[in-house]
Assembly symmetry: C2
Homo-oligomer: 207 residues x 2
């Protein structure tokens, strides 16, 4: 019920600082590297749901200086500055700035460490993007699970490829998919090396 990728992404962003809904769309794509841009039709209902269940709350106007200043767009920043100078409590009327609650932090940790969550590419990427909130042990568990899955997929792709009943185009797709999985696997293994390295040596050397 709570294994939604989107909830995890939103809570993850709110762990760092307060955000309003509109901003979350960009941030999820940029900072959390979601493949496709999220639509508002999924963000606002998600925020409403998270608020109903007490995982986030609407922040007071005064606390949102930082979030208003880092909107990202030049005009938006100027607007915030002007609003601040003129003494308006909320620069842009209508903005609803959300803040994560204590309950939300707890839910976030559970969601992030959820053993049924990092299976697919999207859930895994998201969890790595938020991996600074995981303990080293949980990071390693997550990485090893992903490694196993990728290894199996690679095996599957290779056996398909060697069966030879494919035309040139279909074969090209399989070959490319194989390279993609190999790349993913190398990434996971390099992350695992980093974890073990950090664990054993205080000062990680740069390669």
């Amino acid at each position: 019920m709570m294994n939604r990728v989107l909830d995890l992404a939103i809570l993850g962003l709110l762990m760092e600082r307060d955000h309003h809904g509109y901003e979350i769309r960009t941030e999820v794509r940029e900072r959390l590297t979601f493949g496709a841009p999220l639509s508002f039709g999924s963000i606002y209902p998600a925020l409403a749901r998270l608020e109903r269940t007490g995982l986030v709350e609407v922040a007071d106007g005064t606390t949102s200086f930082a979030s208003r200043l880092s909107t990202g767009s030049l005009s938006g920043e100027r607007a915030s500055l002007r609003a601040l100078r003129s003494g308006t409590p909320l620069g842009r009327r209508g903005r609803k700035v959300y803040r994560i609650t204590a309950q939300g932090r707890e839910a976030f940790s559970e969601l992030l460490a959820d053993p049924n969550g990092g299976d697919d590419s999207r859930g895994f990427s998201l969890r790595i993007a938020l991996a600074k909130y995981l303990t080293p042990a949980l990071r390693i568990t997550l990485l090893e699970r992903r490694r196993t899955e990728l290894t199996e997929r690679l095996e599957e792709l290779r056996s398909t490829s060697s069966r030879g009943h494919l035309d040139d185009y279909a074969r090209s797709v399989v070959t490319h998919a194989t390279r993609g999985v190999e790349l993913d696997l190398e990434w996971v293994e390099s992350l695992l090396r980093d974890e073990h390295h950090d664990h054993h040596f205080a000062d990680p050397a740069k390669s």
Copy 2:
């Protein structure tokens, strides 16, 4: 309305030869290189829908589920089973083998060439896996559209990466995503080179 990836995949498989539902699950994953294995809960309803709309039909030589239900006695069914097994090479009773219709072929061509279809990675891969059914001109259109999209995504990822407000893990995700898109782009460009090469120097008629 008809931009379903699954319909395209099923029709694409049936273009080559008849299949039954259970078989399609494996084939879609293996030959068409779907990332995740399809569930039966999506295949059977899809086949039923395609049959209702006349794009596929149940091939001769197999007893349909409905007709089996209307048969009277159990022993009678067993008898007919034995007859089927001795008479036909594919004696497995209960299999429903589907065949694409003329209407289905037409719908397949439209779906495959649909200019709103090859945007995402999955739809694009699928279309390339089926690219032998496309004309060279449509192949090039598809490839160029995908190239444009990947180029834009790459630009986006690079600008995110250079903005520098990311921790090590989040940065690693962006870097890896960038490599992935670069790999995709190289693939698309190599496919485009092949198309142009075939066009200028080779016999375009292929199986």
